[in-house]
């Protein structure tokens, strides 16, 4: 893709420097802290699994009972229990669900426990590495069969078994990526439900069993269609690292995983979110998972023309936090969206310019492009035409991950036929104008070029301001997404802990080593 906008390389480089400076103090803070869900994720990667009769998951039971000693990390005590009791993780998990409180088990040989924990962690990481290997093998086997951009479709029936039908149909129609949308407000649960589920609202619970069921269904239909099908779910929320761990174990391929989404859009405490996102991203990095960030959300509440710079600024920050967690550029599905008011004269040109700008500034990143949602109405005919304009821009600017818009966006979660029409029309258009982007240039100083330059300038200005203010203070003052989030406010702060000097986490250590990060 030839560059069309003539953006200043210096400005782009400066923006990246600003992002580094902005994130540095936050990364320092992260380094010194852990959280209940980081510990639970760690436990899951040692084998903690299952749930008690009330549905409380084993990792929660363990972490709750270890609340006093948690700043040392939960791994040691879980491994200690295994060593002392001479149990397998499965046996221990059963005992725990039956009432065993492992905090009551006296600490035995620390070295033995540490070794045990390291060994278990290594076995789980090996499983994740195998998953990654399998994915890479399949992608090589079916090379050239996926659409470009990848066509990403959501299923959201609330029932994993219905979701499977919808997903398989979507794949037969041409989808490359299936995202199982999560039930309303799961992000606010401080635990991950257990088992297959059939009752969600506007989406389906993210559970490890649901992941497994959908993975198998997609592998099946992918084999038939000779296309590797990417499975996607949502990590963001109070259990970000745990869901990342579950996804890595069940070979998910993409994960919604933003560094600030929870803070801004779900009012989750900022300290907690920053700590959680890092650990979850390390897992994703290792698993070869592509993260999707949530910049599109800025535009569902703010104006897409005026606030375009907030999207770009957030992309720079998400990128920086991602690199710091060991992710590679090809794993960064930075988000943006086609959300301009359709009545704006030349709105299409601004969208085109912004999409092209993202492409040029993040050339190796897959970029996740979101369809019109806010301005969709009950007029499904106009809706499908708006989606068409979006499909056009996406193909013409070489986006990586293309979330298909639904003509019924303003009405209901997608019907099977809505999804069919979305894929069918997108494939028509993307084939019909496949090389358009390569065949045109932008007029020097034209509307598109000027708009992109303006957005970059505003972004830089904004990042400078955030650097001066400090990221956490900036959030507190409402500089992002037009919401103010007090540092000590929001959900989940009580789950945050400073690491003690004895802090032990074999998963973290192994990941840091493997990813070459500190």
């Amino acid at each position: 893709m030839k560059e069309k906008l003539g953006l200043s390389k210096e400005k782009i480089a400066e923006a990246r420097e600003r992002a580094i400076a902005i994130c540095a103090p936050v990364l320092d803070f992260i380094h010194e802290h852990t959280s209940v869900t980081v510990e639970r994720a760690t436990l899951r990667l040692l084998g903690a699994d299952g749930a008690d009769a009330d549905g409380v998951p084993v990792p929660n039971l363990v972490v709750d009972s270890l609340r006093q000693n948690l700043s040392e990390g939960a791994a040691l005590r879980y491994a200690n229990a295994l060593v002392v009791k001479g149990m397998t993780p499965q046996e221990l998990n059963s005992a725990i669900t039956a009432g065993l409180d492992i905090s009551k088990i006296p600490l035995g040989d620390k070295t033995a426990a540490r070794a045990k924990a390291g060994q278990l962690a290594q076995a789980y990481l090996d499983r994740i590495r195998n998953n990654r290997g399998h994915r890479e093998k399949k992608l090589a086997e079916f090379a050239g069969k996926n659409n470009s951009p990848l066509l990403y479709l959501i299923v959201a029936t609330g029932n994993i078994f219905e979701d499977v039908k919808q997903a398989q149909a979507a794949v037969l129609n041409g989808a490359d990526v299936i995202a199982v949308i999560r039930t309303t407000a799961q992000s606010l649960l401080d635990y991950v439900p257990y088992g297959a589920t059939t009752e969600g609202f506007g989406g389906t619970y993210a559970t490890q069993e649901n992941f497994r069921i959908m993975r198998q269904a997609l592998d099946e239909v992918g084999e038939r269609e000779k296309r590797y099908i990417y499975l996607t779910n949502y990590a963001s929320g109070l259990c970000m690292p745990e869901i990342a761990a579950m996804g890595a174990l069940e070979r998910l391929d993409m994960m919604l995983n933003d560094s600030m989404y929870g803070i801004l859009f779900r009012d989750i405490n900022m300290y907690r979110t920053f700590v959680d996102q890092k650990f979850s991203r390390m897992i994703n990095a290792y698993a070869g998972i592509i993260i999707n960030t949530g910049e599109d959300n800025y535009l569902t509440t703010s104006d897409a023309y005026e606030k375009a710079y907030t999207v770009l600024a957030s992309q720079f920050l998400n990128e920086r936090f991602a690199y710091a967690a060991g992710l590679q550029a090809w794993q960064m599905g930075l988000g943006h969206a086609f959300e301009m008011d359709p009545s704006i004269p030349n709105g299409f040109l601004y969208e085109f310019a912004q999409a092209q700008m993202a492409r040029e500034i993040f050339p190796e990143h897959p970029l996740k492009y979101m369809p019109p949602t806010k301005h969709m109405s009950g007029d499904i005919f106009k809706g499908i035409v708006m989606d068409n304009m979006f499909n056009f821009v996406s193909k013409a600017t070489g986006q990586g991950i293309h979330l298909l818009g639904m003509l019924t966006e303003a009405i209901h979660t997608p019907f099977m036929m809505d999804r069919y029409l979305a894929v069918d029309t997108a494939r028509y258009v993307m084939n019909n104008m496949a090389s358009f982007g390569d065949d045109i240039e932008f007029k020097k100083d034209g509307i598109m070029v000027r708009h992109a330059h303006e957005v970059l300038d505003k972004t830089l200005e904004f990042l400078r301001e955030v650097e001066k203010t400090g990221l956490m203070d900036a959030i507190e003052q409402g500089l992002f997404a037009e919401v103010k989030r007090p540092k000590d406010g929001g959900k989940g702060l009580e789950g945050l802990l400073a690491k003690s000097p004895e802090y032990f986490n074999p998963v973290e250590s192994l990941l840091e080593e493997e990813l070459g990060i500190l």
Binding site: E162, M416, M417
Partner: protein
């Protein structure tokens, strides 16, 4: 055992259906309510008017989603034509003619009446065919005469008699005010008046034609959208063989 099927939105038997229509009433809340009542009147158990727009002072457009309890017994449905029988390919048809009929099969086709849409009949008859399916003119064991468009029924009949045709192929595309029905009926009446109906296999095709309709109007078969020469040829030669062997 009945196998009842219902419209499907995202859950089996949720009965979801999309509708759109115009009512000759001014745009507004009253119009929306009228539209809702209209939809409920068709027996839907639930209806949301998700969009309404003013088309003009006295016309309003609606988009609705509704839910039905009603279903169809799928086991009792009879398809317009049996799909199990795959059509033969051109080569197979030629082979079939050689083996079972033993002489060239003569067909005469035309787009009749005032209808000037030749693309459909050409797709079936012309050498070059349609969508990589050759037309009847290319079949070595067929003799195909395509009379083109706006052919009066009288002339078509006369011509068919002259070349001693086995089959008459009629194309009808324009259906406004049932003009195709009148035109098709007229041809059969002509044939019958002259005592020639049983001499020809009579076939009609066009985007709005179904086999049911054709048979009802006195034709041997009808072919709709997406027909290829193979389909018609297969029908003709089988029918012919059947008649000859009787």
């Amino acid at each position: 055992m009945a196998h009842i099927v219902r419209p499907y939105g995202d859950t089996l038997d949720d009965g979801k259906v999309q509708l759109s229509f115009t009512l000759p009433v001014p745009h507004g809340l009253k119009a929306q309510e009228a539209a809702r009542i209209m939809v409920l009147g068709w027996g839907f158990s639930d209806c949301e008017i998700v969009h309404s727009a003013r088309i003009s002072d006295n016309f309003t457009f609606f988009v609705a989603y509704a839910k039905t309890e009603r279903g169809v017994d799928y086991d009792a449905v009879e398809a317009d034509r049996n799909e199990e029988e795959k059509s033969m390919s051109m080569d197979e048809v030629n082979e079939f003619i050689r083996a079972r009929i033993g002489r060239k099969v003569v067909v005469v086709g035309a787009c009749t009446g005032f209808d000037a849409h030749t693309v459909g009949i050409d797709a079936i008859m012309n050498m070059k065919g349609y969508n990589h399916h050759y037309g009847l003119e290319r079949y070595s064991m067929m003799e195909a005469h395509n009379l083109g468009a706006q052919v009066p029924n009288e002339r078509l009949l006369e011509y068919a008699v002259k070349v001693n045709a086995d089959a008459i192929l009629v194309s009808q595309v324009v259906t406004q005010k049932d003009t195709h029905i009148h035109n098709l009926t007229n041809l059969i009446e002509l044939l019958e008046a002259e005592g020639l109906r049983s001499k020809f296999i009579c076939i009609v095709g066009g985007p709005r034609i179904s086999n049911k309709l054709a048979v009802q109007l006195g034709y041997d078969a009808g072919f709709g959208r997406g027909t290829y020469a193979d389909d018609v040829a297969t029908f003709i030669v089988k029918k012919l063989a059947e008649r000859m062997e009787r």
